[in-house]
């Protein structure tokens, strides 16, 4: 039995980042070393049982360098991102703490960033958040005190300048690898790369995008990104995911904000004898094509309710090139 106050087993010591790094995040290390990184989105449980979190993480953990814990995505209530990240970090997983600007103001968010860092979370993803109207509680008050870009700048200020936005000093700044989102296939397409430039300017270290189903549009986006030189200043992880069926794809397209699926993809799903298998195939092909686009640093897999397919998809795509991102034993660096 350990003494109260002796937390060596549960809490990771607050390590300084290795040279040339902004955090001691495993994801950052993989990316900076030039290896192709994989992140995966975790479906948060509607439960207070920690074993539900671990069950959800297990099928993703063997192929992902970090797991994204969504923050009430689609404005639906689930277990909080910070809670999930705290549990998974202790179990040795790399985690990405997602913060949506929809539900909390600047006071709450800056406090949570410190709390997350103290619990060992080393990656944070700054999001605007879907409107409350799309979720299960449309009567909620939308906050949007920050927007995703001012949030990125705020966390960078906390990390690099060691102060809150008010100027008050932080004695131990949160050493976080800061992420932001992009949605290359959505209007206004011609300005999306410019918006990405703004996020990089604000301080983003990595970018995870929404689903890419339209490769030509994505390639055009990346061409502009390379023209602006952004791929050298930020790590870009395009989003991918397997479709379950043509019907599900159509539903997503018209009901989930910010999703663009070309008709050709839906037709292919429609014609398939085994739609789930076809969805997986399309996903693998997309990952392989995306990997070959210049300036791409990894992929972000969002396989809502198809988590069981993630391992196979990543392994069959061959992007890990034999690498096995296993979770680390507690106590070691994340």
């Amino acid at each position: 039995m350990s003494e109260p106050g002796d937390l060596g087993d549960i809490v990771r010591p607050y390590a300084d980042p290795p040279p040339g790094h902004v955090s001691d995040s495993r994801l950052e290390r993989v990316l900076r070393s030039g290896r192709f990184a994989v992140t995966a989105e975790l479906n948060p449980p509607d439960s207070a049982d920690p074993s539900d979190v671990f069950d959800a993480a297990r099928p993703l953990g063997e192929v992902a360098d970090a797991l994204n814990a969504t923050d009430a995505s689609g404005a639906n209530c689930h277990m909080s991102s910070i809670g999930i990240c705290a549990l998974l970090t202790r179990a040795g997983y790399g985690t990405v703490y997602q913060i949506s600007c929809r539900d909390r103001n600047r006071i709450a968010i800056q406090g949570d960033v410190l709390g997350a860092a103290a619990m060992g979370v080393r990656n944070v993803l700054c999001l605007t958040g879907d409107g409350v109207g799309t979720g299960d509680q449309p009567g909620a008050r939308p906050v949007f005190d920050f927007d995703s870009i001012s949030l990125v700048r705020t966390i960078r200020t906390m990390r690099d300048e060691g102060v809150f936005l008010s100027g008050r000093k932080i004695t131990r700044p949160p050493r976080m690898f800061i992420g932001a989102a992009e949605n290359p296939c959505i209007e206004p397409r011609e300005w999306r790369p410019e918006r990405l430039a703004k996020k990089v300017e604000a301080g983003a270290d990595f970018i995870q995008t929404n689903y890419i189903f339209d490769l030509p549009v994505f390639e055009k986006f990346m061409a502009r990104v390379r023209d602006l030189g952004l791929h050298e200043r930020v790590f870009i992880l395009p989003g991918v995911g397997p479709l379950a069926s043509a019907k599900a794809a159509r539903w997503m397209r018209s009901n989930v904000p910010g999703i663009h699926i070309p008709d050709a993809v839906i037709e292919r799903m429609e014609k398939a004898a085994k739609p789930a298998e076809e969805g997986k195939r399309i996903c693998i092909e997309l990952i392989q094509q995306i990997r070959d686009v210049a300036g791409v640093a990894g992929v972000h897999v969002m396989a809502y309710r198809r988590e069981h397919q993630v391992s196979e998809i990543i392994l069959e795509s061959g992007v890990l090139a034999g690498r096995r991102p296993r979770r680390r034993v507690v106590g070691q660096a994340q």
């Binding site: 409107g131 939308p142 920050f146 927007d147 001012s150 209007e187 703004k198």
Partner: protein, 192 residues
Amino acid sequence: MYRVRLFAIRKARSFEWLYRRLEAVMVACDPLFRRIGYNRVERPVAFVERITKGFLFDCRMCGQCVLSSTGMSCPMNCPKQLRNGPCGGVRPGGFCEVIPEMKCVWTLAWQGAARMKGGDKIREVLPPVDRSLQGSSSWLRVSREKAAKLREAREAGRTALAQAFPNARVIEPASAPLAEEPRRATTGDTRK
């Protein structure tokens, strides 16, 4: 009004020009405003601002106007009040995620900015809105800021002198003054 707002964005370049003129006038009025007291002019100016900008841009009187950096498309009309660009939920055709019949204010903003001379300002990262300024006049805030900056530039010489002779400042404060001179105290009034 939505229609007028769309018109203002189409005419972003003319409004940009108009805004620059207005700003120059407001800055020129600074000595007058200071004499009357900014506190006293706040209410009437805010009233005029609310009426005109409300009509032209659907202004919400956030008090920290950024129209010149957003293609004359007021970002406070975005249901998420984003100050730095569109969210990831814009609908096909450039319509808003939350209000589907309205054009995304940020799609319009980039179009407006492309028409403006200083349109590049849209690339600047803007801070979150200070909600305590809601309802106050942005025009006065801008003119105050600009005027203060001009004053500061004019006084740079005197401040530099005070800093170059720190000990003189301590033993004989009047020999290297730092505080702002009241208008009537000096003969060579460099401030207009």
